[in-house]
Symmetry: C2
Subunit: 380 residues, 2 copies
C-alpha cells in the first residue's frame, strides 16, 4: 500500500534588510508552514545577493566559518570572517572587511579608507591552499578603485619621488607609477567569482565615484578629482599587466573592487545566482510542490534580478510555483511581478507602521506563511 | 470529449464599514479573481448583518426597492427605503428611518427621538398586503424602548391628566397608562423576523440604555432615570397585552425596538443568518471550490457570529474552504479564526495608515483577492 508523499516546500527568502536575516526569515516561514503541515518536507535555503548576509546564508548549508586578522578599511587590524565551503574554495563577503555598517569605519573619511584588508585576506587564503574564491561585493565603505586589494596582494604604488603611495583615494593623488612584479603569482592559478549585481564601469558619469561615492561620504566638489585619480591608477595598472578591465560592466562595483578583481581574471556573476548555486537551490526544487521566497521590500528593483526573482526563475524551470512574501510589496510592480510569482503578499495584517512591521517581522512572517499555507492546502 | 468544469468561487463578504459596501467589496473581489480565472463561475453574494447595508445587500439578489414617507427620528417626515423581496415579504432596515448616521438625526437630542416612523412604515406595509417582515435592527439613534414603533402601529400612551404622551424618552416621563385597543389587528396574522446580534435585555445594568445609551448621547446622569421610564413603559404594555418580552435576549436591541418587536411576536434571528438565507448562500455554495468572505476588521468579535463566520460555517457544511480577506486581521484572534478559515488575510500590501487603507479599499481588495487566487491556482 502506498501513501501520498508529504508535501515538499522549498523556503528560500533573502534577508529582510534591517530587520531579519535570511536564516531567520527561512526559520519563520518554516515555523508557519509547520503549523499547517506537520509532516511536510521543508527544504530550507536561505538566500543572499552577494552583499551583507551572504556569508551567513552560504554557511547555513554547511562549510566552516573561520576568520583572519587583516587591515580594516581604516587600517586598524580587524578579525574578518570568511567561509570555507570546500577543500579549495572560500567565500568572502567584503562587507566583513570594509563594510559600511562596521563600527570601525566611521573613524576615517572615505578618502583615507582602503580595501587592502581584502587583498590581505585573499593572500592568506592562497597561503592556505585556496584556489577558488567567491567574493561577495556590496555594502562597501570604500572608493579606492580596488587599489588596496591589489596592494594587499603584492602590487606597489609609487610616487614621483620614489615613495610608496597609500592605496586610498587620498594617497592616489601622488601616484605616478605601479610595480606589479610582486603581485602574488598564485593568482594566475586561481578562479575568482565576483558576486555583484552592479553593472557600472569604474569611471565616468556612471562610474563608482559618481554614482556610489556620495553615499560613502565623498563630497560633491571632490567627485571629479577622485574619479580622475582612479582613472589614472587604473590606466597605469592595466598598462603594466597588459590587460584591461576598467570599462567593463561591474568594474565600478564596491568602489572599484570590481575593477581589481576583473583585472585578476575574476568572473562577474549575479550574487543571487552564485549563492543559489552554492546552496543547491536547483536540487532542492526537484519534485517540490511550492517555493516560498521573500525580501524586505519588493518593487520594480526586484524585477532586475534580485534574489526572489532568481529563486522564482529557477522554480519555473522545474515547474514549481513560487510565492513571494515580503515586508512590503509595491502594487505598481504587481503586473510585472505577476509574471514570475504565484501570489505576492505582505507580512502585514492591517494598517501598521514600518517600525512596528520591522520590529515584529519574524512573527508576522510566520503568521503570514501559515495563512498562505492554509489557502494552498484548501486548493489541493 | 469532456473538459474540466470551470472553477466555482462564492464571493460573500460583509461591507467594510466606513469604506466600501458589501456590493462594492464583492465586485472588487470578483474583479481580482477574474484577472486570474477568466472563465471562473463566480457567485456574488454580498452579505450583511441586519444593520446598515442590509437592504442593499438583500436587494442585490433581486426584489424591488421602494420607499415610504414616514416620521424620522426627529419627527420630520423622511423618505425611508425598504425592499420587497416577495409578493408578501418586505425587508426593513431601521437605520433607513432612525439611523445614527442620518443627517436629520442631529437636530434633536436622543431624549426627543422616536421610532414612530418604523411603526408607520410597518403599517404602510400591512396596508399593502405585506404579512412577512424582516426587520434589520442596528445603527439606531433612538432609545425609546420601541414605544414609537408601537405608537406608529396604533398604541396610545396616556398621562395622568389624560393627555397623549410622546413616544420618546422625554415623553415617557409622564406615562401612566397605555391603550392597546388601537393596535393594528393585522399584526396578529403577520410574521416578523427580527435581525439582530444583540442579546441584551431591555433594562438593567446590561440593558439598552446602560450599554448603548451613551453612544447615542444619553448623559451619564440621565441613564438611570431613562432606564426606569423604559421599564415602566414596558411593564404597562406587557400587562395590557398579557405578554412579556422585556427580559428576553434581544429586547435591548436598537434602543428597545427589539422589545417592541418581540412583544408583537417577532422571531429574533442573527442578521447574518437571515441575510444568508434570503440571498441563497447555501445554494450558491453547492459544488463550489472556494468561498471568499471578508469585513472591515476581523477579531475576536468575528467569532461571535459575525457575517464572515456565518458564511464560513455554511461553507464548511458543504465542504467548501473559506478564506477571509479583511481590512485588518487581529493576529491575537488567529488561533480561533484558523478553526473556521482557510487563511486570514489583509488587504494591505505593506506598512500603511488606516486612512490610506480605507480610502483605497476597493483597489487593495481586488489586488489581494487576485494574489490569493494565484496561490490557490498554484496549488491545484
Amino acid at each position: 500500500m502506498s501513501s501520498t508523499p508529504p508535501l515538499r516546500v522549498v523556503i528560500a527568502p533573502d534577508s529582510f534588510k534591517g530587520s531579519i536575516s535570511a536564516a531567520q526569515a527561512t526559520a519563520a516561514i518554516a515555523a508557519g508552514l509547520r503549523r499547517v503541515w506537520v509532516d511536510a518536507d521543508l527544504r530550507l535555503v536561505p538566500l543572499a545577493d552577494g552583499g551583507e548576509g551572504t556569508l551567513d546564508a552560504v554557511l547555513s548549508a554547511g562549510g566552516k566559518r573561520s576568520s583572519a586578522r587583516v587591515s580594516g578599511a581604516d587600517h586598524v587590524p580587524i578579525d574578518a570572517a570568511y567561509g570555507l565551503v570546500a577543500a579549495d574554495t572560500a567565500v568572502i563577503e567584503i562587507a566583513q572587511v570594509v563594510g559600511l555598517t562596521r563600527e570601525d569605519v566611521a573613524a576615517h573619511a572615505v578618502e583615507h579608507r582602503s580595501t587592502k584588508g581584502v587583498g590581505e585576506l585573499m593572500r592568506r587564503l592562497l597561503d592556505a591552499g585556496i584556489r577558488r574564491m567567491m567574493v561577495g561585493l556590496g555594502g562597501s565603505s570604500t572608493n579606492d578603485g580596488g587599489a588596496g586589494l591589489l596592494v594587499g596582494l603584492g602590487l606597489k604604488l609609487v610616487a614621483a619621488d620614489g615613495r610608496t603611495v597609500e592605496p586610498t583615494p587620498a594617497g592616489l593623488a601622488a601616484l605616478t607609477a605601479v610595480d606589479t612584479s610582486g603581485l602574488d603569482p598564485r593568482l594566475a592559478q586561481s578562479h575568482i567569482t565576483i558576486m555583484s549585481d552592479v553593472n557600472n564601469m569604474l569611471c565616468g558619469e556612471q562610474g563608482a565615484t559618481a554614482i556610489f561615492g556620495p553615499q560613502k561620504g565623498v563630497r560633491q566638489y571632490a567627485l571629479r578629482e577622485i574619479d580622475a585619480r582612479l582613472a589614472r591608477f587604473a590606466a597605469l595598472v592595466e598598462a603594466a599587466l597588459g590587460r584591461s578591465a576598467k570599462d567593463r560592466p561591474g568594474a565600478g562595483a564596491a568602489g572599484g573592487l570590481g575593477f581589481a578583481l576583473l583585472l585578476l581574471g575574476g568572473e562577474l556573476r549575479s550574487g543571487a545566482e552564485v549563492v543559489a548555486d552554492l546552496l543547491g537551490l536547483d536540487a532542492a526544487l526537484e519534485g517540490a510542490n511550492w517555493l516560498i521566497t521573500g525580501e524586505g521590500r519588493s518593487d520594480a528593483q526586484t524585477l532586475l534580478g534580485k534574489t526572489p526573482l532568481v529563486a522564482a526563475r529557477r522554480a519555473a524551470l522545474k515547474g514549481v510555483p513560487a510565492t513571494l512574501v515580503s515586508g512590503a510589496v509595491d502594487r505598481d510592480a504587481l503586473p510585472e511581478l505577476n509574471r514570475h510569482f504565484a501570489g505576492c503578499h505582505s507580512i502585514t495584517f492591517g494598517p501598521a507602521t514600518l517600525e512596528a512591521s520591522m520590529a515584529d517581522a519574524a512573527a508576522l512572517l510566520a503568521d503570514r506563511a501559515e495563512q498562505l499555507a492554509r489557502v494552498f492546502r484548501a486548493a489541493r
